[in-house]
């Protein structure tokens, strides 16, 4: 076995990749000398005689006359005691199946090629199996790309990628005022976003010298910490989570947000909800607190259009909408989504209830359409279903206001000059301070509150 050598069909000319066996000049069992002609093969270009690389005994002819053999496939096995294996024979003897010659038409030479140097006709041709995937890289990357930016000598000027510079210019930010946490002090998108949001550090406190969590958005390369197996789990950010993250960041980065709160006695509204549920006109329509809050918001937006506007960066204009696409934040199976009801201002209370329940049930089934999810002008988010009193919501990007309402709690409250247990809820209104100031926001919220405190205002305002 160790003396057995195989002669692999070598490179025979220029660019050819296979040859046909024409005639053998030896048979199994024959003694052969070095350079003795073993076989004639025909290529595209010529009939060529192949001389034996070894002195020894022919063990087996591995291809028959008429067979087409790919370059690099073994054609004969020779027992050659003491012979050094040639360049064309460095793999152990394989089964006859490996050496099976190809059909003349259609078969790619690479499929019949052993995993080492394959000869082709000019020079040596492609080496080895045509790889179907890249070679495996080491898990740690010792390579510092030569093309990495060389921030150390920045000549005193801030370092930032062109899109970040553009954004800074749009925002009127001098990059010299921004602290960069990218490698070498590069100012990343997140850095700029944080600067714009007024926070001293970005949403996730970074380790100095490392990019914050949203590094992929900032477009910088982050040196990954060496993972400690078992102590942490890594999940790729995709789909809705990715979208939500981007939306939240965009929201924070573009709009200066402030928030006002109002805690109310809404017992009259909760009673109304009960009565409406039993009312025959609302049969089948699922009336909830949310329905009444939505109605109150729609009414208040009539008088406070600023809460239903948006800031156009490109044209530097305030766009006031004359319709309300009312968005509702829903916890869907894959994460938070905010579908909206188009032209909600035109809906009757009953239709509003139906629309809300349809919207939320579809969202919970992850069946919101793209149309559902775009074009919103104002958003309501019910954080009460999670059991909390209040929250500071983040604006849906492109909107001027978002109202959160918490759980309705039985609380001691002033009532008719005394203290009684009443249904109390806290409303939180976050707003874009470019479009709405504190006074306007407060007035809006007060009006919403007025409706919810005394729903007979609905009749007055309808």
């Amino acid at each position: 076995m160790s003396d057995r050598r195989r002669f692999l069909l070598p490179d025979l000319g220029e660019g050819l990749t296979e040859a046909e066996i024409v005639a053998w000049h030896v048979a199994a069992g024959d003694e052969v000398q070095l350079n003795q002609v073993l076989v004639e093969v025909e290529t595209e270009k010529a009939v060529v005689e192949l001389p034996s690389p070894y002195t020894g005994t022919v063990v087996e002819l591995l291809a028959a006359p008429g067979d087409t053999v790919a370059v690099g496939a073994p054609i004969v096995a020779i027992d050659a005691p003491g012979a050094e294996p040639g360049a064309r024979d460095t793999i152990p003897a394989a089964t006859a199946a490996d050496a099976a010659p190809t059909e003349k038409a259609g078969r790619k030479p690479a499929e019949n090629v052993p995993a080492e140097n394959v000869a082709v006709l000019v020079g040596y041709g492609p080496s080895g199996v045509v790889p179907s995937r890249r070679r495996r890289r080491r898990s740690a990357h010792p390579e510092q790309p030569a093309s990495a930016p060389a921030p150390p000598h920045n000549g005193g000027r801030p370092l930032a990628a062109p899109p970040v510079r553009f954004m800074a210019r749009q925002e009127g930010v001098d990059l010299g005022d921004v602290v960069g946490h990218g490698p070498g002090g590069i100012i990343t998108r997140a850095d700029l976003a944080a600067h714009l949001a007024g926070a001293p550090t970005p949403a996730v406190a970074p380790v100095p010298g490392r990019a914050p969590v949203a590094a992929h958005l900032a477009g910088t390369t982050t040196q990954a910490a060496a993972p400690v197996p078992g102590r942490e789990t890594r999940s790729p950010v995709r789909g809705i989570q990715k979208h939500m993250a981007e939306a939240m960041l965009r929201s924070v980065a573009t709009a200066p947000q402030a928030c006002v709160f109002l805690t109310l006695d809404v017992t009259s509204t909760t009673d109304l909800v009960e009565r409406l549920r039993r009312n025959r006109h609302f049969e089948g329509a699922h009336v909830t607190m949310l329905t009444l809050v939505a109605r109150a918001v729609l009414l208040a937006l009539r008088e406070h259009a600023a809460l239903n506007s948006s800031w156009d960066e490109a044209t530097v204009e305030v766009v006031t909408k004359h319709y309300v696409n009312l968005g509702i934040a829903v916890a869907g199976p894959h994460g938070l989504v905010v579908p909206n009801i188009k032209d909600a201002q035109d809906l009757t209370l009953r239709d509003l209830a139906a629309a809300l329940s349809d919207l939320t049930s579809r969202a919970r089934a992850a069946r919101s359409t793209t149309a559902d999810l775009s074009g919103g002008t104002f958003t309501i988010t019910n954080v009460g279903v999670f059991g909390v009193d209040a929250g500071v919501p983040l604006l849906n990007p492109g909107e001027a206001g978002i109202l959160a309402f918490g759980a309705v709690q039985r609380r001691p409250w002033e009532h008719d000059g005394g203290v009684a247990l009443r249904d109390v809820v806290t409303l939180s209104l976050a707003f874009d301070h470019r479009l709405v100031d504190g006074q306007a926001a407060s007035r809006f919220l007060a009006e919403v509150g007025e409706v919810l405190t005394d729903p007979t205002n609905l009749i007055a305002l309808v």
Partner: protein, 381 residues
């Protein structure tokens, strides 16, 4: 082995140049010819030296055949065989002095052998482990030229350098019958004649430039081409090693004597393919090959040696053994040649430092270090 230079007085050189026939000293059937004045140039060549010439040709033929076999066995990427041209190469190379300098094309393995180059080193460039194989200065022969005809200018320039140095030696450029069609050869003839430099332009007219017959290159003989430049041409039977030796001695003598360039056309035949990638059956006939086989250079010298009783079976066996030994040494040496390391790719591009190259080398080394397996890179095709 060195053959002593024939001493022919300078005044006589012109008469040889004026001999307008084909220079032949040994007929096809191995007889000494009568009446050719070139005999005077090889009067010193005795039986021992004839046997040496034969041995040289036999070993060169055997080495060439071994290289062909190695290519067919996948050990060389390519080989350009010289089969049939042994006399043209050995006869001319044995006329050279050690301080003469040769600028070959890519087929002059026999010349390199005579200059003392190790045959294993000759095969490095054909195996692909290097672009050259030896130090030109050590052996007085440049790296083979692949751009056809380019070396004719190099030889001319080198010869100009000999003049500037005030030395008595010569440069010799080898090329085939296709090369004179190239502009560089024409320019070399022009420069050499204009400056009167000691250069010999040695054309092996082996009748074929790949598939193109010599008649496609020129309707006049190549030896005549020098006339336009005032360069004398000698047309010699390239399969007659003695005639080639004589013609080359003459050309070199003219060069040493300050008589300027000479163009030698050695008429021979490329018995094998252009290279191992070529198939001559596509463009020439077996009949033509047989005709030239009858004029084989080794056969005719063997016939002469036998007819003059200066070579016996013992001699032939000795030659065969020497040839087999040389072939075995070549095989062993070639199989042992190691592939160069990737870093070698970046060496010798410049003499001085080069920032971009340093950067690229370092980056590539880092890149390679990033892989778990060090497989060969995939072929770009």
């Amino acid at each position: 082995m060195a053959i002593a230079q024939a001493r022919v007085p300078t005044e006589r050189l012109a008469e040889f140049v004026h001999f307008s026939g084909l220079v032949q000293l040994i007929s096809v059937d191995g007889q000494r010819t009568v009446g050719c004045p070139y005999w005077d140039l090889v009067g010193d060549v005795d039986a021992a030296q004839l046997r040496d010439l034969y041995r040289d040709m036999a070993i060169v033929r055997r080495l060439d055949a071994e290289a062909m076999a190695l290519q067919r066995q996948g050990e060389l990427a390519l080989w350009a065989p010289l089969l049939g041209q042994e006399a043209a190469q050995v006869g001319s190379a044995r006329a050279l002095k050690p301080d003469d300098f040769v600028f070959p094309s890519y087929r002059e393995h026999g010349v390199a052998y005579c200059r003392g180059v190790d045959p294993v080193d000759m095969l490095r460039m054909w195996r692909g482990t290097a672009l050259s194989g030896w130090d030109p200065v050590d052996y007085g022969i440049a790296t083979p030229a692949i751009i056809v005809g380019s070396q004719a200018l190099h030889a001319t320039g080198y010869a100009l350098g000999i003049v500037l140095d005030g030395r008595t030696s010569a440069a010799l450029a080898y090329f085939g019958d296709g090369a004179p069609s190239e502009g560089d050869v024409a320019e070399a003839l022009g420069f050499a004649a204009s400056f009167g430099v000691p250069v010999v332009f040695f054309c092996q007219n082996n009748q074929w430039a790949i598939s193109e017959p010599v008649r496609l290159q020129s309707h006049a003989s190549i030896a005549q081409r020098g006339q336009g430049y005032g360069i004398p041409g000698i047309r010699v039977d390239g399969n007659d090693v003695l005639a080639v030796l004589a013609a080359t001695r003459l050309a070199l003598a003219r060069a040493y004597a300050g008589q300027g360039p000479t163009l030698v056309e050695a008429v021979t035949y490329r018995m094998g393919p252009h290279t191992t990638s070529d198939d001559p059956t596509k463009y020439r006939s077996r009949g033509e090959e047989e005709q030239w086989r009858a004029k084989d250079p080794l056969a005719r010298l063997r016939a002469l040696l036998h007819s003059e009783g200066v070579a016996d079976d013992r001699f032939e066996d000795g030659v065969e053994a020497a040839a087999a030994e040389a072939a075995a040494a070549l095989r062993e040496g070639v199989l042992a040649l190691r592939d160069p390391e990737p870093a070698a790719m970046f060496e010798h591009v410049y003499a001085g430092p080069h920032a971009l190259l340093d950067e690229e080398r370092a980056a590539y080394e880092r890149y390679l270090a990033g892989f778990d397996e060090m497989a060969e890179p995939a072929d770009p095709s």
